[in-house]
């Protein structure tokens, strides 16, 4: 079960990061600006780097490579996202789409909070059971006894 959760989490974040990476950066910059949570000078850097972090965290989790570290990154990322989306809901910001998956999938902000909380719970679960989650992974390959 933990392996399935790991694969699902990895695939989700590869998709989410990859979708943003393949689209013009200006579109994600516009999404970030809509949340009004960052100083304007920081927005371009976040728009540039965030999709790469999402993508690589997803890739490393999917492959089970540096799994504990990648899960910790995912946990932090999801917690940050939950905070940013939460403040947007509390401030009634006029966002009809979260922008999490570009223009491909549209989710209302309340739905995104649920997804974020689920990701946090599942990442924490995998982190707490990282030995089981590491089955069929590169970490397991490297940890096997040397002949």
């Amino acid at each position: 079960m933990f392996v399935v959760i790991r694969l699902l989490l990895g695939a989700l974040f590869i998709f989410s990061g990859g979708e943003k990476l393949l689209k013009p950066m200006e579109e994600f910059l516009y999404v970030i600006d809509g949340y009004q949570a960052l100083p304007q000078w920081a927005e371009p850097a976040v728009a540039l780097l965030f999709p790469w972090v999402e993508f690589f965290a997803g890739l490393f989790i999917l492959l089970g490579f540096w799994l504990r570290q990648a899960l910790a990154v995912l946990l932090l990322l999801s917690a940050a996202l939950a905070l940013i989306v939460g403040q947007a809901i509390l401030r009634h910001l006029p966002l009809d789409n979260c922008g999490c998956f570009g223009e491909l999938i549209h989710l209302p902000l309340h739905g995104v909070i649920l997804i974020d909380l689920s990701v946090i719970a599942l990442s924490a679960l995998c982190l707490a059971n990282s030995t089981k989650a590491s089955r069929y992974s590169l970490d397991a390959f490297y940890a096997r006894p040397k002949a």
């Binding site: 990859g18 990476l21 393949l22 689209k23 013009p24 200006e26 579109e27 910059l29 516009y30 600006d33 809509g34 790469w52 993508f55 690589f56 890739l59 490393f60 492959l63 490579f65 540096w66 006029p94 009809d96 570009g102 223009e103 549209h106 590169l138 490297y142």
Partner: protein
Amino acid sequence: MIISRQILSLALVVLVIAGLSIYKFGIQKAWHPAKINMFQQGRVKGDPAAPVKIVEYTDFQCPACAAANTVLEDLFKKHEGKISLEHKHFPLPRHAHSLRASIFAECAVEQGKFWPMHDVLFKSQKSWEGMISVDAYFSELAVSLGLDGTRLAACVNSPAADGKVTRDKIAGQTLEVNATPTFFINGKRVVGGKFMAEEVEKLLAVPGGK
């Protein structure tokens, strides 16, 4: 021989960044600023020779596009004669009435009323976005602007207007437009009214608008 974890990590990161960068570079090479002005269909406001040329891909049912339209109106007042705006239809599938709104606006072109229709569609967006059917409402708006209702009815039910809207959308897709409002300001892409206004002000702060 088994490669070390560190080397494998580095190789993965480098390969993925290189792969995605080559892919993106390929896409960017495929679109050229000249394509921004393909399929010009006579929806230009302001002096076409103005130093700041804005091409806007917009959706009449998108709230951010309505807000951007207000920003554009203010910019036109503030910088009279220095800005031109070309409208491009980009109705998003998630907005039920966007396509019909674009078709009605397109049909207003042949009666010389595109911009009044354009503005009234944005200003009344909140009134019609929740309707089940919008044709009667849009016809009322058009007639109140002085459009001939009979000519309009024939136009909005013909495939020609739909074809022009579709051509705009295809042109936008070739330029990698995915979200609205997307602007090309003297060839530079920006998304959203706030960034558009910033770019216009930046260009107009430079003599010649370049």
